[in-house]
Symmetry: D2
Subunit: 382 residues, 4 copies
């Protein structure tokens, strides 16, 4: 591969938080060029946003449909090669499906769609079109998450017995959605968020992290959802019991009303031979315990790491990497995969969350909402 | 009060861990003298243990019955004034009841008894005999736990919405009970521990800590117990959902098979105006959050504390106090209460866990075991 | 500004650590395009490195002289607008001077030059050519370093009395320079590093951080240098006493043989009204103390920050930013400054280390080496 | 030994902080009884203080001379066996000398005396009278300090190259001595403190900790003292360069005007094979690094500790021990030594700071003050 991959963006205009994140993440490793965008459904706004990104006006589109059609008409060596979809949840499905069906690969923000049905339909589209699909469960991109995964997958921890995961935020502990805050208003709106509130927005990250590290799946869960903000209809808090498909048990605590918490995603995994602990707000430490040994703390690019972790670090030990770098790793692996496919390579490392993660995430949301309706009764994930 | 209070001990002979803790805790503040003991049911061992504590042979008894009877016959200014019961759970009820009925005050280790029925009987005995009774939920003795309590009780955190508590240990992650380890063998034995394993041993501490800090009670709980150690019959792991009597929700995670964990009791409490976090292994930090403010960390005897916390610290800020000092605070407050009663004082600060905590703790164990039998169905605490 | 700035790079070919860092840092904010490079003095290697960066062969030069001359001949809207110099220390001066004198702005790695004399000559060149010059003391780019600076500069801490700074690494605790490790071999070589070893490589960062945050200058210092690695001639360890130009006192501890340390740059500043503490390995916490208040910890984009800090954060609180983002902030501010100059703006925020920092850094190295020769006698910085 | 050792106390009446600490420390392990005291030079106050400690009036003396004389006249099995001297510095020498010369063992607070001359005289007295003498450099009593000592002494760290020690407090950052605060007023008064301010009060602890852990001695030092509090004459801040007798180098930073610091004694020791780090405010973690290994953190009574450390812990891992327990370890080892001497044992573990530590501490103060007078010139410790 001796050139950059060309990206088009759907959503992510002025005022978007996550669009900016995607663009930076795509640029850090120098593998991707942003070449066009449908940044807003208002064509004027789309152009204004695009100009700030140094795009020419003719490649700033007023709708994703227009973008997909017009880009397809461009010469093969000019047109975008994949789309990044960074809109609210209800605007994932249609653009993703249309992009796939018109030959474009897709990077999509999470949760994958508004409904489980949409997710399943999208899965069919991915399978049928054979386009590549990445879901930005970005926390899987951290070097020490990859170390944790390698440790568990290699059996270092023995059999997993107990899992504790939490994703705690406090930004919805007051009624910010009534202040005109754009991020808050769509997240508390079921038309744009789907049936899960905090569950969908951050709970799916927690679910994904468990699966990514351990390979285990939640067999059944018992969910007690809370709706603490006055006037809200979606959960802004959730407490869950988990039973995993290997017999392990666990808890999940999710909240957007945990006042003072910023972005406290943390996981603890206990096995018969070892245990580990990782926290997103301090991502450059992986705390581990091994039978009869003192606590050991691993650092990115530090001593005694697995290759799966080492190859993700961009800088020497002691120089912290953060959220954007982890996010960028999704883009890097996705871009490398696309290029490998171009080159006809078959046995490629495909280490990024994909369509099956998206479907499993929707099943998680649905099971939790179902369980809650039945007073937290155990509910299977199928 | 111009003299020390005289203590007799039941249990706590050679090989006991907790007996030694009680003795040190009783001695730190210089208010209590150990004057006699029934350290073992083997009279010879009791004497040997007592001699190492510099007691005269005639006050080292071969049974608690003997001690209670003989001490009662001693002149009022020589005989013990209270007993400290530091035996395994099944040996709490009878000595406590007999001591009360013979006029002695009682300090008792937790959980209070083997069964709920015993606990209720003991409660009647306390009420009838009007003797004082302290239950050593020692973690309530930390200066910053008292600060947390004062903050919540004074409304600083607003309405409590979410509670997360955990008590994680790893010492039973292998089959230590089969190695002859005394501490392990009785804890996994229902005849000596009761119907709860980890639930009774450490879960009751977690339940007590919630109540002590917030004043809230668990209305109902859903408990999923784990028995991971081969051949065990009692829970060595427990995951619970909690609903509090004010509408707050929460999780509790208890384990003795969480490999690598030493004594990780930690609590987070989220309100509408603030939140706090405290961890027993780092007890000299109370982490708090307040709306629109940076994180604030309080230290014992440090700045801006409530009097309830300040008066507990024995040394200036920056000099860590630990487990024994917190334990000692139970003894100090108990001793001061006894002396106040002697002096006819009525409005005395009675800040130590007591008989009602014991009964509530048993209800907690029973509700959790019941819930688990019904596949983690919601179960009320009455 | 509606386009990206065009960057050429000197050094940074295959095997370079810092070249990659500069490229990523330049790309994160989408303001800069790499358009050419003299990545190696071997033309073939330069081309190979450039191709991996998707550059066309004709803009991969075999020497910096060639690049400067040839780029100057290109049309104004195609040629590079500034050079990034990422070579070892001895290769900073000539390229920088030539670039300036041919009309190019310069971003240069630290320490600025091999000798103080060169630094002074370069300062004249900057002044004469009126080109912009940035020195990548990248740690000044962290959001909380900017918060610390704003606090001190606004007088929140009162008068500064005591400063403690350290920059500790352990990677030279064994003789890695003998293993062919490229990073190590030039750093222990006075011909390529200059008269300072650890002093120049990391001590200058520590000196710069003090000045950046406090605005204070070191009046005199007493330096005790250590050369612990066998066969080395340059310091690999240094302990210094500092006297600041306002009467404050302090210590500086520098090491590359502090076994186990990764990149432990940390600073504590004590004033009459408050104090603060920041550590590069955990850059998303700024610990502060204020008279009669509990400890307060600030987080990037969190509560109660100064605008100078807030505007640097790229993502919401709780999403860690790291080394590359801080580095990128130097590039962003430099790029914005260049564009502002193009636009004729005069009152521009010029918040990045520059030529005067470079000269002061060299004076620091020289004073420390001088002091050490005189058995750590006090030595002024002029 | 089948009885408690009898202690008399000099100083430590109402309003004393350290008297209370000594009494608690002496009581925790149940080996020592307080039997008499000269708590104040005002006989009435002495009696009042003693009564609160449940002593009989006739053993509360109005002066240490009276106590020593009268106690000596008591029957051998009733009289005190050692004195604990807890007065300000200027009141250590005479009581200690008189006690020794009258046959009593001595526990004395630090720094040992007001002057070096006194210290040397006292050393002669100890040697001549063959009484035991303990100096309460209490931080040596922590379990993990003993682990650090064992590691270094056993060569685990290889050759020591670098030492960084600090003891930072902030309580004198304002003029508290003018508020009538008893602790502050004598500490800033050279008549009662000696020629060192912070140097004597806390610097000696730092010096002692280095020596205790490493066995190394400071060969020469360069000291820059600060007197920041208006009107003060003694140092309230000190920065030092250290050269050790094995060629290691280091820094020491001492302060009582480091606003916000509580009791931040911390040490880092770097060797050729490993390094370690310990901080008094978080005493239950010993952070270590070993070549090519991830960071390892040891906990008291945890995994993989040396017997020297294990035998000091009183409770299982995860139950924090603090300042009083460490202090108590000095008393315990001293008491055991006295008893061993009574029993005619010769090869006794004598693990507590003693008279030679006291003399070395005075040499440290004198050298630092001398160095400072000579503008921080290198000054030998003899």
């Amino acid at each position: 591969m001796k050139r950059k991959l060309r990206m088009g963006m759907i959503g992510g205009g002025h005022g978007s938080f996550i669009g900016d994140v995607h663009r930076r993440a795509a640029s850090i490793d120098g593998l991707i060029d942003l070449v066009c965008g449908a940044f807003s459904s208002d064509p004027k706004k789309s152009i204004l946003s695009g100009k700030d990104l140094f795009l020419s006006e003719e490649r700033c589109y007023g709708s994703y449909e227009e973008m997909i059609i017009k880009e397809k008409e461009l010469p093969e060596d000019k047109r975008m090669e994949f789309v990044a979809i960074v809109t609210p949840n209800h605007m994932h499905f249609h653009p993703a499906k249309m992009a796939l069906e018109n030959g474009f690969h897709v990077v999509c923000d999470k949760p994958i769609t508004l409904t489980l049905e949409e997710a399943l339909t999208l899965q069919s589209a991915v399978n049928k079109t054979k386009r590549l699909f990445a879901l930005t469960h970005n926390y899987t991109g951290y070097a020490l998450v990859k170390q944790a995964r390698a440790m568990v997958r290699n059996g270092d921890l023995g059999d997993i017995r107990k899992i504790q995961v939490q994703y705690l935020q406090g930004w919805l502990s007051t009624a910010v959605e009534e202040t005109g805050q754009k991020q808050a208003s769509w997240r508390v709106d079921p038309k744009r968020s789907g049936i899960g509130g905090a569950l969908g927005d951050i709970g799916t990250h927690a679910e994904n992290l468990i699966n990514y590290i351990t390979g285990l799946q939640i067999s059944e869960l018992a969910a007690d959802l809370g709706v603490f903000g006055e006037g809200r209809v979606l959960d802004d808090d959730a407490n869950l019991l988990l039973r995993m498909n290997n017999g392990a048990k666990g808890t999940m605590s999710i909240s957007q009303i945990a006042l003072g918490e910023e972005n406290n995603l943390a996981i603890k995994i206990y096995g018969t031979k070892g245990s580990l602990e990782w926290c997103q707000e301090n991502p450059n430490e992986l705390i581990t315990h091994w039978l009869h040994e003192p606590k050991k703390i691993y650092t990115p690019n530090g001593n005694d790491l697995y290759p799966e972790s080492l190859k993700v670090s961009r800088i020497p030990a002691g120089h912290p990497e953060g959220y954007l770098e982890a996010f960028a790793t999704i883009y890097k692996n996705f871009a490398n995969h696309v290029m490998a496919v171009y080159d006809g390579e078959l046995n490629t490392d495909l280490d990024y969350p994909s369509i099956s993660d998206g479907v499993r995430g929707m099943r998680f949301i649905y099971a939790a909402v179902d369980s809650n309706k039945n007073n937290a009764a155990w509910t299977a994930l199928e």
